[in-house]
Assembly symmetry: C3
Homo-oligomer: 139 residues x 3
């Protein structure tokens, strides 16, 4: 069994951002030389998500509005967590909807993807340094 | 490390459907001959889910109603994504609630499941050909 | 490839509870002797979740209130599933929001975690014996 570990770093300009990281993950899969296996891609922070869906700007707007409806940022006083001095409780909730991680199959040295699958980093509490872990195992 | 890759194809009659695929996955695990490892089962399309829960008809109705409440199909004009000519923005949202994939342990050549765990394919934009990927790794 | 399989058992005093199981999983990773690989941690029951987020009491309260708003327990008659004699349909819904499982990378013999990542068992239909599966593979 072979393995590779890499990180992707972010410092997004906005509180919430949606960034396509597929090309970066593909690069790490090539670098690993692994032909068959699994790749885990996970947010290392608890107010961000890694998810797989379409890279279509309208859809990213829809996600953002929908998440804000299901778990609104304001008023920040509605959340117990914000009594700690934070204002990001909503980000911990939004991240549960979108998920922490994805696991993708590697076949013949490539991400084994359907036609529209793209890997996204979703930031819900940005404007600070954060990172994603990429761990590849296989042969 | 051994591995096996299989696909399961669907063309559901309705926009939304919930299909138990456990027996199919069990068959692939047997075929792989793998005694200990992991199996990844993921939708290859971005308007469908693979999830694990109970095979109880009332619950499937509950999921369907609940998802329609959290992310209604109509009016389709409420979603930016539908400006592309699609009418399936809601399906991209529903899929995030139910998830893209599951990872299941294989122990002694079998799916290592609790008493009620069943693997489902959830279709949110059916009436077209779509598929699920099954990737097994282990020894 | 090496592997280890362990279970963690629960019998929570309340219908809903949130329990930090990180130390237990770390213990199993050490016991496995695996230096690089993946660990799968999943609820073996379909009315419970395993998820990763912050161990902050205010946040646990926020999750609980939020889940109860998105999928209320009462009136139990609102759910088709409860016609079976159960009263836990809401627990099957809440579990889909929080997820069934997490997959965590193992690097240098340790859980490869960001600064605040903690593994939680979330019980949505407690007061009975239930368990979590921990499956580790790697080398």
């Amino acid at each position: 069994m072979n393995h590779l570990r890499e990180e992707i770093w972010f410092n997004t300009p906005n509180r919430r951002d949606y960034i396509n990281i597929t090309a970066k993950v593909e690069e790490f899969v090539r670098k690993s030389g692994i032909q068959n296996g699994l790749v885990l891609i996970n947010a290392m922070h608890i107010t961000a998500s890694v998810y797989i869906n379409d890279d279509e700007p309208g859809l990213l707007e829809d996600y953002d509005e929908w998440l804000e409806k299901l778990a609104p940022h304001a008023p920040t006083s509605q959340y117990c967590h914000n009594r700690t001095g934070e204002d990001n409780a909503d980000a911990h909730l939004k991240r549960q909807i979108m998920g922490r991680e994805v696991v993708v199959a590697i076949t013949d040295g490539k991400l084994d993807f359907g036609p529209w699958e793209q890997i996204f980093y979703a930031e819900f509490d940005g404007r600070r340094k954060k990172r994603v872990l990429v761990k590849i195992i296989g042969e």
